[in-house]
């Protein structure tokens, strides 16, 4: 190996780095580091301009090591490695230095300190780069079969998308019937079509599809292996069955919060959740003269700070349904903020207003009170606009509760070695850049198991995740990380501890 000639590319990332770190000073400093042959600052190293400048730098300065100081390797490392490779440099001769997430963003009030730290990090990166050696990646085959966990709308969509592309799919559903949450739902907004009409043909196609093996009333019991070659064991009524797949899609859905103890739920028989109302609407639609629908029940509070996104629309949808059943009914939606994003939902909101649904804003300091003997008779709410208390006579109170992480999430997270986020939903590799995949190669995620989503979003995500999952199966090969452990005979004493310790039985 010839003497290292290191090229250092320091990214401003617009103002993200450049607004805190004195990039020109960092560039000057890096110039003097041992073995550094070229240094430049880029406005955006990851832009087309930045990448071509990097490639040009490699050629012009005969660089044999490249250091990029910018953001996190978790998202951008492959991009820069590819650029190195395109310029004829082995991709393992690249070193990433994170001066954004780990520097400018966390020391943004102390520019001088951040500059010194960026310098330290780059010095470390250059020192490491000098020690890098080119590596060859080994390739391994990919089994052209996929596992989809969860038989709801997301899981079924993913399974069909893969099966239609010619891949064999194992679909695992813990219930006896496919369909998931949609089985419980009456109609879907904004079109008001019946949910069952939507999923019936999908269930039919899944059940009839020759390339989909159904495992209903089943749980995934064991997972081992790696992208392209996972070994799966599924348990069905205690009976175990094993098969191998190349990729995995997680679409296990979410639970709905049961608002026990909130707004008289469990205390008054006429206080229902939205799901329970949908059930009623399907069976024997109730004739209501006064109904109050309360939003954000159990969400956007300190112990559950997130917005569940879909409940506002659910509320609108069911308010409209109640109005349809009895146009004279007084239907109120008590909300903290109405989130009817996008053109369709905004239009839907206007439709509800036109239909005579009343909207009232409440705040957490003055939550609505449910009063009544034996059953909810009145809802007392502070009307901030009018500056007085309103007494709304009701024969029905409906609570909009958020989606919460499925109780099974933790088990599946451990099984697949993929992380859960702070709220307990699955955590994708990157919220913007890798929204439907995990950091672990070959495992993908879609639907409400990742975050609250409505049906169309779940379907879009399912297409995205399954399409991503199809890539390695279509390629037929995956390249394995080239850097692996090896035994150095002059140090090895043959104690065998590594052999018994390795959980992958790789030694």
């Amino acid at each position: 190996m010839s003497e290292p000639r290191v090229g250092v590319f320091v990214c401003h990332c617009g103002t993200n780095i450049g607004g805190v770190v004195d990039v020109p000073a960092v560039v000057e400093y890096a110039r003097a580091l041992p073995y550094v042959a070229h240094v430049e600052g880029n406005l955006y190293s990851c832009s087309v301009d930045g990448l071509s400048s990097l490639k040009q730098g490699i050629h012009e300065h005969r660089l044999n090591r490249v250091v990029v100081a910018s953001c996190t390797p978790r998202t951008h490392e492959p991009l820069f490695k590819d650029a190195c490779e395109q310029a004829g440099l082995n991709r393992y001769l690249f070193e990433f230095v994170n001066i954004r997430e780990h520097c400018s963003w966390v020391h943004s009030h102390e520019g001088d300190v951040a500059t010194v730290k960026a310098i330290r990090l780059i010095r470390m990166g250059v020192a490491k780069a000098c020690l890098l050696e080119p590596q060859d990646e080994a390739e391994s085959g990919v089994i052209p079969e996929a596992l989809v966990i969860g038989g709801g709308i997301a899981g079924m969509t993913a399974a069909l998308n893969l099966a239609r592309q010619g891949f064999h799919v194992h679909l695992v559903e813990k219930e006896a019937q496919l369909g998931g949450r949609l089985l419980q739902i009456n109609r879907l907004c904004p079109t008001d079509i019946e949910a069952y009409d939507l999923i019936k043909p999908i269930i039919q196609e899944v059940e009839d599809h020759g390339r989909i093996t159904l495992h209903v009333s089943s749980m995934v019991h064991e997972v081992s292996g790696y992208v392209g070659n996972f070994q799966i064991t599924v348990a069905e009524d205690g009976e175990k069955q094993s098969f191998d797949v190349g990729t995995i899609v997680v679409a296990t859905g979410a639970d709905v919060l049961q608002p026990v103890g909130l707004y008289g739920y469990g205390q008054f028989p006429n206080v229902l959740t939205q799901l329970e109302l949908e059930d009623r609407l399907k069976a024997e639609p109730p004739l209501i003269t006064g109904a109050v629908l309360i939003n954000c029940v159990g969400s956007r509070i300190p112990e559950r700070p997130y917005c569940s996104r879909v409940c506002c629309m659910t509320s609108l949808k069911n308010a409209i349904q109640l109005k349809k059943l009895n146009p004279d009914a007084q239907v109120y939606v008590l909300h903290r903020d109405l989130l009817t994003y996008g053109v369709e939902f905004e239009r839907y909101y206007r439709r509800a207003m036109k239909a005579g649904v009343r909207f009232l804003r409440y705040n957490l300091e003055n939550p609505p009170q449910i009063v009544g003997r034996g059953r909810a008779e009145n809802v007392v709410v502070w009307d901030a606009l009018r500056g007085r208390e309103l007494h709304l006579p009701v024969d029905l109170v409906v609570l909009s509760t958020p989606l919460v992480p499925a109780s099974d999430n933790e088990r599946i997270s451990r099984l697949l070695k993929v992380p859960l986020g702070e709220s307990g939903f699955f955590l994708e590799a990157h919220i913007k850049l890798r929204p439907v995949e995990f950091a672990t190669d070959g495992i993908f995620v879609c639907g409400t198991t990742r975050w609250s989503a409505d049906v169309s979003e779940s379907i879009s995500q399912a297409y995205a995740a399954s399409t991503k999952a199809a890539i390695p199966m279509r390629m037929g090969v995956v390249t394995a990380e080239a850097i692996t452990a090896y035994s150095e005979p002059s140090f090895c004493t043959g104690c065998g501890t590594c052999v018994v310790t390795c959980p992958f039985n790789a030694i």
Binding site: Y29, A32, L33, S490
Partner: protein
């Protein structure tokens, strides 16, 4: 010969400690070592032999021999300097050891500048041993417990004080202004051990291939203690160490550190081959170095008979026993050469 009283010696030593670096036997956690002292009180006078020899003073275990500094593109080299040092209370065997090291490092061209600079500034004030320890054998190696040869000044204990034997001019400049009286009478002769016979160096190669070395080495642990305690063992390696690395300023030390032929990797060459691959070969080298290679090269023994290695070896590899075994084996081989039926070799 002059005389100095105990009190006068204390005063003198206090002054020396004040003026220069005074190195003398001192207790460090109950272990007697030649180390620098700040006053005469710290010095132990009633002793037989410090744990380590005084080799460390002339040849430190880890010594910078060159400082390299890089400022910008400018490189500067500095050689270390050494101030005046006096070793007081040195035993004759240890002075003998330093004399042997002198022959190696400054006895012939090219001389070792570092050693020379350091050695130049050292004055040796000895103290005779009244009696040899059980494991001492300096008398077998051409020394005596009261041998003044290698000192600048040698003190020998007499009643109430010390006889002062000024040997060199360097010693004289130290002692002259003390205005000492002439001594009355002679100090007593030391009690000495029986002399061991040492096989002449020219006969050692006859026993080079003897199985004896492998058998002797069976219990050797291959530590480096014997070499590091030895007043004569002088092997070292030289490596550069980065002590500071920055952009505008870097600093490197070139270090000379003790090494020992008893260590497994001592003789390993680039490519990984080890010409002294077995324990026996390595241990044999230790004795051949002292009794054959050294005499061939420098015309005297590489052992001064201090007995430290005998005392310290945790598995009782006893240099005197080895000397006896080798002499006996050689004699036996002479006889067997005369009568071919006799068994050749020795057993451990």
């Amino acid at each position: 010969m002059k005389y100095i009283s105990r009190e006068a010696l204390q005063t003198w030593l206090d002054r020396l400690a004040n003026d220069v670096t005074l190195i003398a036997p001192r207790l460090v956690d109950d272990i007697l070592l030649y180390q620098s002292v700040s006053s005469a009180r710290e010095i132990v006078l009633d002793y037989t032999r410090p744990k380590m020899s005084a080799k460390e003073v002339v040849l430190p275990s880890s010594e910078p021999i060159l400082f390299v500094e890089k400022r910008g593109q400018e490189v500067s080299l500095t050689e270390p300097s050494s101030g005046a040092q006096i070793i007081f209370g040195l035993r004759p065997c240890d002075a003998h050891g330093i004399a042997v090291l002198d022959t190696v490092f400054v006895g012939q061209e090219p001389i070792d500048l570092n050693y020379a600079r350091r050695r130049e500034a050292i004055t040796l004030i000895g103290l005779s041993c009244p009696q040899m320890r059980e494991d001492c054998f300096c008398t077998s190696m051409g020394g005596m417990p009261n041998d003044p040869t290698h000192f600048d000044v040698l003190l020998t204990e007499v009643e109430d004080g010390y006889a002062v034997n000024t040997v060199t001019d360097k010693g004289r400049t130290l002692v002259d202004h003390l205005n000492l009286e002439e001594i009355k009478g002679e100090p007593a002769e030391p009690i000495i051990n029986e002399t061991e016979s040492v096989l002449a160096q020219e006969h050692w190669p006859d026993l080079f291939a003897d199985h004896y070395w492998d058998l002797l080495a069976e219990r050797c642990l291959e530590c480096r203690m014997c070499a590091y305690l030895c007043p004569v063992c002088r092997c070292f390696d030289v490596q550069d160490q980065v002590t500071q690395q920055g952009i505008s300023y870097s600093k490197y030390d070139r270090l000379r550190c003790w090494d020992s032929c008893t260590g497994t990797n001592y003789r390993v060459v680039a490519g990984g081959h080890n010409p002294r691959a077995t324990k026996g070969q390595r241990l044999r080298n230790r004795f051949f170095c002292k009794f054959h290679y050294f005499p061939v090269e420098y015309d005297h023994s590489g052992c001064v008979g201090c007995g430290r290695c005998i005392e310290a070896c945790p598995v009782n590899i006893d240099i005197v026993e080895v000397m006896r075994d080798i002499s006996r084996a050689f004699n036996a081989s002479q006889i067997s050469n005369a009568s071919p039926d006799a068994e050749k070799g020795v057993t451990a």
